[in-house]
Structures are given as C-alpha cells and as structure tokens.
Symmetry: C2
Subunit: 341 residues, 2 copies
DNA sequence: CCTTGAACCGCAACCGGTTGCATTTTTGGG
DNA sequence: CCCAAAAATGCAACCGGTTGCGGTTCAAGG
C-alpha cells in the first residue's frame, strides 16, 4: 500500500542503501544521487516507515506517558505541553491511562511491547515503585511530580512539597490567621503527606495550632465540598489549607452555604493556581507550582536519558510561589511577608 | 537487550514458528509444545515485540488521536475515555497536538510515519479537510465532534449542532426570555456556525428577536468575560446563549461585575455541562452533549473500520439535553416545555 | 598522466517477528 | 493394524528499513 524504499530506489535507479542514506542524516551521499532520490521520493510520496527503521536501529522515538489522573484540570497543561515538547524534539507520546490501577506490571507490559525509548510517569499519587519498575527493565524513566527521595535511584522532576507545606503555614501566620485546618488531597499520595508534614512542622515553630487534618478522596470539587461540610462546626480554625484548587473551591462553597464569610470568618489557601482559581466568584489565593517548566524540564531530561541512559539519578526541584488573591486576610501593612510578626 | 523469539525457541527446543504461533491466537499448536513454549517464555520474561509484528502483519494497533484544543476541560473526558477504551480493545493511542496548526499535511505525515491503523480527529474547530486528507491516504478516520455533512464521505460522530441551536432558542422562549444575544465560540468553528444558524432559525419562527451575535476568540473564561463586557449596555437582550460553559461563566462574571442580577436581569445558557457548570457560585443551566457516549461510539467505529475499511460513510448523531439549573428564568408552572406558551 | 586517499555506492546480512507451503506426526475409522 | 485425513511442525521467504564492508569513482597532488 504505502510506498517503500525499494520502489523509490528503482525509480531513482540507485540501490536501496542509497535511498536509506539520503534519509538518514550524517550519511555520505553525493549531491547527484541525493537529488535523484529526493525527486523520486517526492514523485511517489515516499515517507520512511519509522516502524521498520526502529526495528533496525532499536530506537522507536516513542516516549510512554503514564498518568492516572485524567480528571484534574492541571493535566490539560500536562498533556498539551508533553505532546508539544515531544513533538518538537521528534518524539511522539504513547499514552497509558492508569486510572484505577495500582500495580506497575500492566503499564510496563503495555509500553515494553512497543519498545518505547523512555517513559515519563506523571503523577504525584503513584508510589516510586512505578518508576523503579521501568528502571529495572532498563527503560529510561523520569518521575514527574514525584516524591524526591534520595534513597531511590530514580530521576525526579517536581517540587519540594514539604517546603510548600511550610510556606502555607507561614503564610497563614503572616496573614493573621491563628489556627488552621488542613484539607489534603488523597491521603496516600506522597505529595499530600509531604505537604502536611511541612505544614505541621512550620506550624509548630510558629505556635500555630492545627485543629483538624482531613483528606479528600480525590482531587475534585465534590470531594472538597463534602469534606468541608464535615469539618464545619466540628472544630475551631479560621483558615484551611487545601490540597488542590478544586478541593478548595468545593470547600469554599460548603463554607458559604453554611453562612461563613471569606476570609473574615474563614480563610482558604489552594494549590496549583488553576485557571478557575482566578474566577471572580472564587478569587482564590493559592500556591502555584511552575507546571510548564517542570514539564519542559522532564521532556528535556528524558530525551537526554535516551541518549545516555547511565546518567546518575537526578532530582530537579522547582520553586513554588504564592499567588495573592482574596481568600486570606490581607497582610497588615506594617508587617513583612515571611517574617513572623 | 530484550528477549526475542529465537531465544525462546532455542530454550523450548522448537522452531521459531512454533513460538510465534503460540502467541498468535487461532494458530494451530499442540498442547504439548504450547506448554513448553509458554514456560520458556515465562522463564525468560519474553514479550513479543509489536513493532516487529506490525512490520509483518501490517497492523500496528496504534490509533492516532489528533486534537487541537488541549485547554478545554471537556478534553479531560476525551483523553480519559479515548485512552481507556482503546486500551481495552488492545489498541494504543498516539497523540498529535495540533494547537496552532491549520494544515493537515503535518499531522498526516506524523501519523503515516508510524503507520497507524486508524485516526480519530477529535475537534469541532477543524474543517473536514483533515478527515478527508486521511481518508485519501487510505487511513481509516472518524471525525468526532465534526460537522455532519452529507456531501463529504467521512465518518462522523457527534451531535446535531443546528438542532442544539434551535433547542436553545426554544428554551429561551419557553422560560419567558423575550430577546436574546448569542455569544458563540470561535467564529470559524463549524459547530459555532451551525448552532448560531439553528438558533436564528428557531428564533425567527418564535418571533424572538436576536439583538446581538458575538464570537469569543476561543473557549475560555477570559474570552467570555471580555466579549460579554463588550456587549453590556450595547444592546437590548435579556438572555445570552453561550458557545461553551467556560465562555458562559466568564460572561456571567462580567454581567455580575456590571451589577446585573441573574437570571432576572439577564439569563445565561451554557454548553457542554462541564463540572464547573454545577459549581454553586454559577449553577449554570446548560446543554449537555453525551460526550462519553460519543467517544465510546467513535472508538467502536474506528476499530470496526480498521477491520473493514470499505464501510460506507456513517454519520452517528447523539441527542443533547438541557440541564436545568438556575441561570434562566424558571418555567411558568402552567406551561409545557417545548411548546410555545 | 599516474597515484593515492577520501568520498560514494551496492551487496548482503540483519532487526524480530509472520505465514504459505511442504513435510511429518497424530488421530480415528474400518 | 492399516490408511487417509487432519493436525502440528519446520523451512524459508518476507515485512521495510539500516549498516559494515569491500569495491568503485573522483578529485587533487605530483
């Protein structure tokens, strides 16, 4: 059906090798035959088959992208950028949807069948086991949004969640909130654990009491709303640190439904700075992680690893920043951000 | 690196063909050799290479998924379901991100290189040219969310946008709104054109004046907000039909910022029924298209086409429904929905 | 014009599977 | 127990490329 090397070779009156070489750069072909081949190829509409090529070269130019959270709006950015960046570098993404799966075997199998050149595991809710499984199968892998863990030999690109938790506690304190609740994402996610740990650590230093720690079942409006409904009137706190903007927005609606005024009765701090956080009805103060930079860096790293699989495990951490909006009390004008008042 | 057929064959003491046959179903192998092969394969951790297989069978089990709107939340559902459904049927999705591209050549090239078995073009903002290009290259293709057009020979799965436009006008009328504006999605999208046309047609029948038609640049909150800001006080209308929930939510915020009360001063009707439409702060009445069914159907169709490429062009249309919330005036209790009062 | 080295080219083997065909083995009926 | 048909097996060619190697062509220098 499709035009092959052989047909082009015949039409151009050269050997198959010659055709192959004009299509692989760095190979030695004279200007004359190159021209002959190219015009023959054009005439026939020839395009080399990457499948066949990869059989010979052992390179598929395919990068596996495994994710398990297809419902979270931040993943729009993730998919958009991953595909674009890979495309720009001559790679193509092969998606694996791991929603509701817990063991690495299946995804490993799926991707090995296609001999992907590398894998990006993009999630904060999967254990390092996944990345490790790929590594042990000799497939280069980077764990994006993963827990950085100097005991595992995996490449990690993401943020310091512990640090973000600290930042949240400090921010509450600076803004004059005096007791806090945490409404984390799924309890098993490493990102949740680290943020909560960081929050607690800094809160202790600041003498900021933490009245409640709850976990939402997943990153969703409904989960946040429900969890918050269960928190109201159950404790004594004037600010909530949420695991995610969606959860936070749900929580805000629960608070409002209970007649609470934001931020005077209760403050909210989200995470991720999704577009919705900026919507007028919520105007959510939130912590932003530089998703786009993280992804660009991940793609850069995985492609580098494909060419040089033996690089030693690298951890790339990006800074998070507070996006000031209106769901926390405003800074007293004579205090300094970051310094206890 | 990876274990090959040959090694398994040697260890099992059989021919390569025997091994191949135990891994292709429907082939004739005795129970005895099958057992030998299977245990050898297990011992070595063998997995057939789909790349090599596809070279011989001319089937890659890869389906291209081309999309150009990675910023729209409905695409979370799209990606989630496409990947899952394909996975379940033994196919794998190869993504192409067409954001900012307008001609089909590049995506065709990208996917032909990998000899995908079929392609799903999932967008309402690309012309039929794309689907046609694939068809002419003899690659089975279904255009999901595409314009149904009986003059083109493409397979289409989606909705009747004209009908949806009519439904919107009828709904406005039924709810007692007496003059309307349209705030469509991108003007060039076929879906926009059809909905506007349907809306106008039905409005004419009902004698519902349409005071304004505007188009947002893209499906986003900001675009909706800006467009709406430009509409306020410029005309005389008491309800707005938006091209998308995001646009609509942006428009609502613009209206509220101008001091208008929803739905008494102005009503809003969205499109898509995204999760955010249900958020308490917006509680948006909207038209839902059965995205999940559309996608399931698309996957089913494309896989059927792979096995039988000569099926004649099929158009599969799904019904849309109004999701009642609170952004339109409520139905007078003695009138009947769908019937002019 | 001859020599020499570099650039170019084609042959043939190979990547890891599949499959038609001929051959061998098995099965079952008489 | 024999024989024919059916089932299982192996051989070898093929899918569409790449690439090491040896031979040929070419340009430059003597």
């Amino acid at each position: 059906m499709a035009v092959t090397l052989k047909e082009v070779a015949e039409r151009a009156g050269v050997s198959r090798s010659a055709v192959s070489r004009t299509f692989t750069d760095g190979a030695s072909v004279s200007a004359k035959t190159r021209k002959k081949v190219e015009s023959a190829a054009k005439a026939l509409g020839y395009q080399p088959s990457l499948i066949a090529r990869s059989l010979a070269t052992n390179r598929t130019k395919l990068i596996g992208l495994v994710a398990n959270n297809y419902q979270n709006p931040v993943f729009l950015d993730v998919f958009d950028l991953f595909t674009k960046e890979l495309q720009n570098r001559g790679y193509r993404p092969l998606l694996v949807n791991l929603t509701d799966e817990t063991n690495p075997e299946r995804s490993l199998g799926l991707l090995r069948q296609y001999s992907v050149d590398g894998v990006i595991v993009a999630t904060s809710t999967l254990p390092p086991t996944f990345a490790t499984a790929f590594r042990e199968a000799n497939i280069p892998v980077v764990h994006t949004f993963g827990k950085f863990d100097t005991t595992e030999d995996n490449h990690i690109v993401g943020i310091d969640n512990f640090r973000c938790g600290e930042m949240a506690a400090q921010t509450f304190f600076d803004r004059g909130h005096r007791s806090a609740a945490v409404l984390g994402g799924p309890e098993t996610a490493t990102s949740t654990k680290d943020r909560v740990a960081g929050f607690k650590a800094r809160a202790k230093v600041l003498n900021l009491p933490i009245d409640m720690v709850r976990y939402a079942d997943n990153y969703s409006y409904d989960a946040g709303r429900k969890a918050m409904a269960g928190l109201i009137n159950k404790g004594n706190f004037d600010a909530v640190f949420c695991g995610d903007d969606l959860i936070c927005i749900g929580a805000m609606d629960a608070a409002r439904a209970a007649g609470l005024v934001i931020p005077d009765d209760i403050g909210f701090l989200g995470f991720n700075n999704m577009p919705m956080a900026g919507w007028a009805a919520y105007d959510l103060t939130t912590i932003e992680q530089p998703t786009r930079d993280i992804i660009r860096s991940s793609v850069e790293l995985i492609t580098a690893l494909v060419d040089n699989p033996d690089r030693s495990a690298e951890i790339r951490l990006f800074p998070c920043t507070i996006i000031e909006r209106s769901t926390l009390k405003s800074l007293p004008f004579n205090s300094v951000a970051g310094e206890p008042v």
